[in-house]
């Protein structure tokens, strides 16, 4: 055994004993991610459907009812109520019972029959941007479509016919989008928390101080403590990918082996974060707060929920410093698009660089702040 790693075997074996004895922690750290997957996988649908809508149809003849049928059939709007005044329509939106109000004026059918332009008022609650965006798009395109059908002779084709086709996620299922990204967050959660706690616990107990007066070397100690959690993190990854494939039925288009390999540097990153946290925190409570602090940017700046492309310049630059950004690129690439190493090597390299760098920084800081304190 090289002298720099002295004590590795003994520490590793002891750490495995800790994990085995504290089965509850292990169980919860493995089961909570699965629960999160279930919640996000089954509970969240980003496709906006059936928006509550209130209608004031002042016209109420055949043409106006046809228009309402088309709106209903789009699956975007769900008409909850018909009202008879502008005021009632406004109130329904203010109270929140409806997000969209559609007012068809009294002369709608007359104007259409006389070949004039007829206006329809669409009031949209702008407080939820994804709902309002969809409502604008669907109403304008129905309006356009309706106008074209009236302008063009019967049976004529559109001059320009756009045919969008969704690749990789043809049904635009939300779990397909969320779960590969969630993998990155969950791995970070489990490994960072477990390592930070494992070290801080020894700090609290005073056993760390004891170890420093033995011939154990810093790297032997760190590696011995990390490897069991590295293994748990890897097991967690396998569990998540299996659940993703067979419970949430997300097809994995790329190589699972590649995914496993590239996840190794990512695990190093999150373990190193755990060490960094433990070198700062004096108690498990403090470690918990710091761990949440590191997880926040991974949730918000990594592209996991909000696309990085639409972020303001500063936050976009910041997102390049978040390891999860790269890993989310990789998981979505491999799982959804079937990308290979030739497409993802820059992300993999970035992760590898960050992992190595952080591990060295963490080990140094651990030496200086914990051992020499």
């Amino acid at each position: 055994m090289r002298s720099g790693f002295r004590g590795f075997g003994a520490v590793f074996y002891k750490e495995v004993l800790h994990v085995r004895r504290d089965f509850a922690t292990l169980f919860f750290s493995l089961i909570i991610p699965i629960l999160q997957m279930v919640l996000l996988g089954f509970g969240i649908d980003t496709n906006v459907r059936q928006i509550n809508t209130v209608v004031y149809n002042a016209d109420n003849r055949r043409q106006s009812r046809e228009l309402l049928d088309r709106l209903k059939n789009s699956d975007t709007f769900h008409i909850i109520r018909y009202v008879e005044t502008d005021r009632a329509m406004n109130e329904a939106i203010v109270s929140g019972s409806a997000r969209v109000g559609i007012k068809i004026p009294v002369d709608y059918s007359d104007r259409l029959l006389h070949g004039q332009s007829a206006q329809v008022l669409v009031l949209i609650d702008g407080s939820d941007s994804s709902v309002s965006g969809i409502a604008i798009n669907v109403t304008t395109s129905i309006g356009l479509d309706e106008s074209l059908r009236r302008a063009l002779p019967a049976g004529a084709a559109f001059a320009v016919d756009m045919r969008p086709q969704l690749l990789f996620n043809p049904d635009s299922r939300s779990p397909n989008f969320f779960l590969p990204g969630l993998t990155a967050i969950l791995l970070l959660n489990v490994t960072t928390f477990l390592t930070a706690f494992a070290i801080v616990r020894e700090k609290e107990r005073g056993t760390l101080e004891q170890l420093f007066v033995t011939p154990v070397q810093p790297y032997g100690l760190l590696l011995g403590k990390l490897l069991p959690y590295f293994a748990i993190g890897f097991f967690e990854l396998c569990l998540i990918v299996t659940a993703m494939r067979f419970v949430f039925l997300i097809p994995i288009h790329g190589s699972v082996i590649l995914l496993a390999l590239i996840s190794l540097p990512y695990l190093f990153v999150s373990l190193s974060l755990g060490i960094l946290i433990s070198s700062k925190a004096g108690s498990q409570g403090e470690a918990m707060q710091l761990a949440f602090l590191t997880i926040l940017p991974s949730v918000f700046f990594s592209g996991y929920i909000f696309p990085r492309e639409t972020m303001p310049y500063i936050f976009r630059a910041l997102s390049y410093l978040v390891p999860a950004s790269y890993f989310i690129n990789i998981t979505r690439g491999i799982i959804l698009r079937g990308a290979g190493i030739q497409d993802l090597w820059t992300d993999a390299l970035a992760l590898f660089g960050m992992g190595t760098f952080l591990l060295f920084v963490a080990a140094r800081r651990f030496r200086n702040k914990v051992i020499m304190a």
């Binding site: 074996y13 005073g206 007066v213 033995t214």
Partner: protein, 327 residues
Amino acid sequence: MAIAPQTPAEASIAADHLIRRFGQFKAVNDVSFRVEKGEIFGFLGPNGSGKTTVIKMLTGLLPLSGGSAFVEGLDVRTDSEAIRERIGYMSQNYSLYYDLTVAENLQFYGRIYGLDTARLKRRIDETVEINGLGSYLNRLSAQLSGGWRQRLALSCAMLHEPKLLFLDEPTAGIDPVARRELWDLLFDLSGRGMTFFVTTHYMDEAERCNHVAYIYFGKIIADGTPQALKQLPQIQPHGTKRIGIVTPDATRALRAARTIPAIRSATIYGDSIHALVDENFDVSELTPLLSKHGVNVSEIRPLTPSLEDVFVELSSQHQESLETASA
């Protein structure tokens, strides 16, 4: 009073003009002492006076800001890894893994020191025998009482047959019987050639050491055998004597005693007052003097100083000299 280590190889610890700075603050300020092999060395001092810092320097955890130290003939500045193989360390919180059993704790510390399987087994058997842990081997150490935890910690610290054992307040918070048993064990082991570096706040433990040193705000102000320290001239300054005044109302007696010019210093011990008085002061005058303050005296007897007297006296003298120096 410090002895310069001319031959560091012969002593178990030879510390020479140790200095440790934290920023501007000198936590250890020119500390020199020497611990011979086989000694039980008591290292005493108030909390925050630098005891732990000295231990950390001697075990290679803290770099020296100045001076030199040799432990078991090895230089702490260059050979800290070799030193750690030859020493054991037991802290006051025992540093055990409570979720591991007694046997697992022993095996872990044995492996840390690189004992091979055969030697590990032999040493575990020996230390378990010495400390009487036999019937607890498969018990989680969390379930042990304080005294047994301390025995287990001691076993863990001596598995690798260290030449020198650091015990940092080993008896804080354990019962008197366990305390007595630990000291019997220390004498037994020191008889077999082991050296002990013990910190403690208990004066009865200090009295049992072969050699004590007292550190006060980073400086050693007393160093020698307990007997030698009690005969230091500054403890019993020329022209003074020590008396004990037994009284049912010690608190009031202390206040009264401090008004009497011939009494140079006075402290309460249970139902009596220990006082340092002028040598030519007739103690029989004391009873009427004190009764003027409404204090009844049941007995006055001559006293030899205890170690506690020594440390209290030396600390206050040192404090005074610091104050006059800064004034």
